[in-house]
Symmetry: C2
Subunit: 402 residues, 2 copies
Amino acid sequence: MTQPNSFSYQKLFSHAAAEPRPLGAARRGKYDFAVAYPDPASLPLDDLVSSLQPALIEEGRDLAVYGHIQGYRPLREWIANKLARDRAIHVGADDIVLGDGSGQPIHMLIETLVDPGDVLITEDFVYSGTLQQMRRFRADIRGVACDGEGMLPAVLEQVIQQAISEGKPPQFIYTVPTFHNPQGWTMSLARRKAMVALAQQYDVPILEDDCYWDLRYDGGDVPSLHALDGTGRVIYVSSFSKVIAPGMRLGYMTAPPDLLARAVAAKSGGSVNTFAAFAVHRYATGHLNSHIEEINDIQRTKRDAMLAALDEYFGPQGATWSHPQGGLFIWLQLAEGVDVAAIRDKVLETADVGYLPGNNFAPDGIAGKNRLRLCFGYNTPEEIGEGIARLAAAFREEGVLG
Amino acid sequence: MTQPNSFSYQKLFSHAAAEPRPLGAARRGKYDFAVAYPDPASLPLDDLVSSLQPALIEEGRDLAVYGHIQGYRPLREWIANKLARDRAIHVGADDIVLGDGSGQPIHMLIETLVDPGDVLITEDFVYSGTLQQMRRFRADIRGVACDGEGMLPAVLEQVIQQAISEGKPPQFIYTVPTFHNPQGWTMSLARRKAMVALAQQYDVPILEDDCYWDLRYDGGDVPSLHALDGTGRVIYVSSFSKVIAPGMRLGYMTAPPDLLARAVAAKSGGSVNTFAAFAVHRYATGHLNSHIEEINDIQRTKRDAMLAALDEYFGPQGATWSHPQGGLFIWLQLAEGVDVAAIRDKVLETADVGYLPGNNFAPDGIAGKNRLRLCFGYNTPEEIGEGIARLAAAFREEGVLG
């Protein structure tokens, strides 16, 4: 008799297999500034259902068939119109692929463009989900120092030249130019022009992650990198996660045809969820613009609540933080040498406040332990005020705040 | 000035990049026997919406958060109960991962277990979607000859021994044991026991793809390979695509913890679609058993219509075909030497009948051009009769049927 589960798969894993992922559910704080969630009270649940019903009457039979690999075409057409209207990006539905959030298109793209050791360039601190995919495909990730307007062009050029001199010209530059995750700044027009010029000069594509663009609370718009380029060097991704809900799992990418045909072939699971795409398409057509206005009013209030609380509890202590014109993130910097990574679990336990330490966003996973990302989307303004007060108290207790 | 889209990505593709995928929409015949669709007239559209509504009232706020990577837990619990009840597979919700159809879990698993050149074993003709993933990760795919009860055990053992003698012990055996795609047979209990015994003897895991199990029209049940093993060597995948709808994009896999933790890390796009999972969970709890009884009555009639039409139009001509007890497929074999692959597009054009030639299901992509897979799920019984008559006429015209 063999023993139950006596077999080990250890010797069978491929060289390209992803490292094991811890499968426990992450503990969340009552004051949950850790993850980029939208306001749960203003999710358009009723409107999603009432949008879904006519779609099922009109096209429900098509749930019986396997959809096109690029996803439900009417939603791709809606996106093409939106991109033209909002971002001066002129592409057709055939140039767009839908994915499970923006994460799946980013994954497809990295898999398509990255061999182990290939150089990728990004900000000195950037969205950790993309970093995880870059690491998984064993990229050599190089961060570029930023100020409050984005990457410093001279540093970016130096990093590109260095990689070229090593015989490893960068595969692409990844950037979140608008309401940056986690740093909160928006890349200025001058910086965008400089980045596009360098991309053209050194023949390096750009992956523009514009997931937060719709969430502007004040200030004026800045053109997309895609619109400033016009040579096919800019790949553009965005998502409905922040303007409708993450649980709808709908994002999208547009890229030139030669790249798209290969990235799409790396897509896992066939067409994106048609049931959800029906609801999002009808909802976007009828309701999305007014919904965005509504949630931006709510999130502006939340941002202001967090900024006011930071002024009150962190201001006198030598800490600094970003003042975002939109998005979901404030980037808080404490004194050099303190470590908020080491005390994260303890603060979550004792103060019930969640945050992500800066090193989560560092290409090397180490830098930035005196920084943290605070998301203001999930809690109410009152909870945000309380949570920041509790965070300051916990930090003082742990000796990381004066 | 640079030219629009003057940039070529050609030099940037990774060695592991998937081959480009043709992005045009495939033409479908009026008589569409080509793809495994369920009956479009009996999709439970109203019940899905009425199942979704209470879920959104109870848990809709959770759409604001990023779900667990393994997917909506109550649906995983429902699946664990179903697997215990129907297949004597005793696992917990933590042992299950939801994916976009069964295709995504299969993709994750192949990526996790296959290096270029690794040997995988499967039937001599098998589901083309899995073959595509195997090819993408450059597996050395070896087919095992089958009769009407599945792989011939002596041939399977020989293929295993051959691979071992080459220093390439097989990474796993992939099989669709119940209502086989495309061959239509169901593996007998004796064959299942023999396959499990060989897997244990030679230490080769089995990937059991049981997507059609619920669709039984007559005959008695046969135990799952998973239940016959009990050593952790059998990985099990299934899906809601055939019992609810492909457009819901919900499938699942259970595997031992060491393998699951790595396969899940290869998952693209985060948690499976929560919006669709809400609807499927509530629908499965309240309606699925009676729905399956209803669609099985419908599909039994369709199968019988196709078998009767084959008797009438192909019977006198020396063709042979499978008589499935369930599922969606009939496997039709014409005389040796004829080629139905070469005339597929023409038959689709002239007769408006779609089918997939046998070589689509061959590990080498070449064998089986005198065979074809006919799916009876989509058309009405009357259309099935007409379609088979048209197919026979077209085949006679092309000289492939006497």
